[in-house]
């Protein structure tokens, strides 16, 4: 394999992942090749259970892949790489119930920042996701959507170079969701963050991404890798009305639909 140029933030080559359950192999990912340039936002879509989260975990160095290679910032991934943050799909369990919300957010900052700086960052990040005045509560004292935003705030406060988000806005209302989308777009643009977002919302994928990757099949492969050719100063109203947006949206939708036999068809009664 040839040396990856430093410009590619994430490089995935021939990635395979297999789980062995009760002696039976479940082949989940097969031969995934994907390259994400620094500063790029790639959205991954695909139906439930395809392997999106598994892919993300391989990039984060949390799963050892059964085959193939993953490199982040040019270095092969063996464990979680430096400067990478993850917002997990199961956000509730990813917060420590024994730490107050502020401490949950400052936890990853202990290595580098003084207490005061940590707290300032936490307050700022929490405000950015629309959470004020909850610093001193425990995660189990706030609502599901608020927990999810705490997890996002924790990742943002960490100021990673690469941010992986697994269905990060699944539990918030529509209004908050678009606000958070815009927040992430703005931060990515301002700080050159490389972003990989798993989402099941196709509008969101097209709105957020420079590219949309469709994962499909069993085992999953990359069924499509679409460039999103929309002006970079996006906004919820004009962008989502752009004909190119609508075209891409339709294309992704049909790609997914092709792969997914509708449940309705499969239900017997």
């Amino acid at each position: 394999m040839n040396q990856s140029p430093p410009v590619s933030a994430v490089r995935i080559a021939g990635l395979q992942q297999t789980f062995v359950v009760d002696g039976v192999s479940r082949h989940v990912l097969d031969g995934i090749d994907l390259e994400i340039r620094t500063g790029e936002t790639v959205c991954v879509v695909g139906h439930s259970g395809t392997g999106k989260s598994t892919l993300l975990r391989c990039v984060a160095g949390l799963h050892r892949p059964s085959g193939g290679e993953v490199a982040v910032a040019g270095r092969a991934v063996a464990g979680p790489p430096e400067g990478l943050a993850v917002v997990f799909q199961d956000y509730g369990r990813s917060l420590m119930p024994w730490l107050r919300i502020r401490e949950n957010v400052t936890l990853p900052l202990r290595r580098t920042l003084s207490r005061q700086d940590r707290n300032a960052r936490a307050t700022e990040a929490l405000a950015a996701v629309g959470l004020e005045g909850v610093e001193r509560l425990y995660p189990w004292q706030v609502s599901g959507g608020m927990q999810q935003r705490v997890a996002i705030a924790r990742a943002l406060a960490y100021r990673p170079q690469v941010l992986l988000m697994d269905e990060p806005f699944a539990s918030v209302d529509a209004q908050t969701r678009s606000d958070l989308e815009d927040l992430v777009v703005r931060i990515a643009a301002e700080s050159g963050l490389t972003l990989m977002v798993v989402t099941h919302d196709i509008d969101e994928a097209v709105y957020l991404g420079n590219r949309v990757v469709v994962l499909a099949g069993k085992p999953a492969r990359i069924a499509a890798d679409l460039e999103v050719d929309l002006p970079s100063g996006r906004d919820q109203l004009t962008t989502k009305a752009d004909p190119e947006f609508l075209r891409l949206r339709g294309e992704v939708m049909s790609l997914i639909r092709r792969e997914t036999a509708s449940i309705a068809e499969r239900v017997s009664a």
């Binding site: 984060a60 990478l84 993850v86 997990f88 730490l99 936890l107």
Partner: protein, 263 residues
């Protein structure tokens, strides 16, 4: 006020009932081994309020405190290391389990030989005994950490110390606390055993001497003292627990839900 009274009644009824039963059942006892509770309590008053406190009680409590402290600290540290490092865990488990299963009574001469007759050897065996319950629970608690929580700690590349103190230990805290409470009572039991040899004072020494000289009421009085001591130590650990596990209790009971509008 009323609520507090009810709470006190709930705590107290069983002990009161048991003591009453004992009192009346033993009132006319002539058995040398089961003297009337009245006699025992009289001896208790004579002995422990407070004649022997500066000598026997102070001596035993010092050993207990040192041994328990050393045992618990060692158990926490070793527990985290073993829990987090499967390789060490794998390599050391047979040796540790073997050591744990070795009857210390058989090794008393060795312990005396190595640590002398003084306080050191008592502290050492108390520490050894107190070590296991907390150690095992710490290892198991740390290993039981939610895999996702572990992933969070890994991806954010927490320093090992931060990870241990902020993630692994708090996560294991509910299980560690039960280990600590077992350790506390085991330590008291072993403290008594440690005064089997090389002693000329201590609560355990007193109990054993009373027994040998057939001063059975004195022996019972000593046992009661130990029970009370155990209860006091447990109150102490329960206090620590309330501090350490307040999040846990809150999450468990949702105790933050309070009917404000007098429902």
């Amino acid at each position: 006020m009323r609520r507090r009274l009810t709470a006190a009644a709930v705590e107290a009824w069983l002990p009161v009932a048991l003591v009453a039963t004992w009192w009346f059942a033993s009132a006319s006892s002539t058995s040398i081994y089961f003297p009337p509770l009245r006699t025992i309590l009289e001896r208790f008053q004579d002995l422990w309020l407070f004649e022997r406190v500066p000598t026997d009680v102070a001596f035993s409590l010092t050993n207990l405190g040192l041994g328990l402290g050393a045992g618990l600290v060692a158990a926490l540290a070793a527990g985290v290391v073993f829990g987090l490092t499967p390789r060490i865990h794998t390599a050391m488990t047979p040796v540790f389990e073997f050591m744990r299963a070795t009857p210390i009574v058989a090794l008393l001469p060795l312990i005396v030989a190595m640590f002398g007759l003084g306080v050191t050897s008592k502290v050492v065996i108390i520490a050894l005994g107190a070590f296991w319950p907390t150690f095992l629970n710490t290892v198991d608690g740390v290993r039981a950490v939610d895999p996702l929580v572990r992933d969070v700690a890994r991806t954010y590349r927490l320093r090992p110390v931060t990870s241990a103190t902020r993630v692994m230990l708090p996560n294991a805290a509910p299980q560690i606390m039960v280990g600590v409470r077992t350790s506390v009572s085991v330590a008291v039991v072993i403290m008594v055993g440690s005064e089997l040899f090389g002693s000329s004072e201590g609560i355990g020494y007193f109990i054993l001497q009373s027994q040998r000289s057939y001063a059975i009421a004195d022996m019972w009085a000593g046992l009661i003292l130990l029970g009370l001591l155990g209860y006091a130590l447990n109150l102490l650990s329960a206090g620590v627990e309330r501090l350490v596990l307040s999040w846990h209790e809150g999450r468990r009971t949702g105790s933050t839900t309070v009917a404000a509008a007098g429902a």
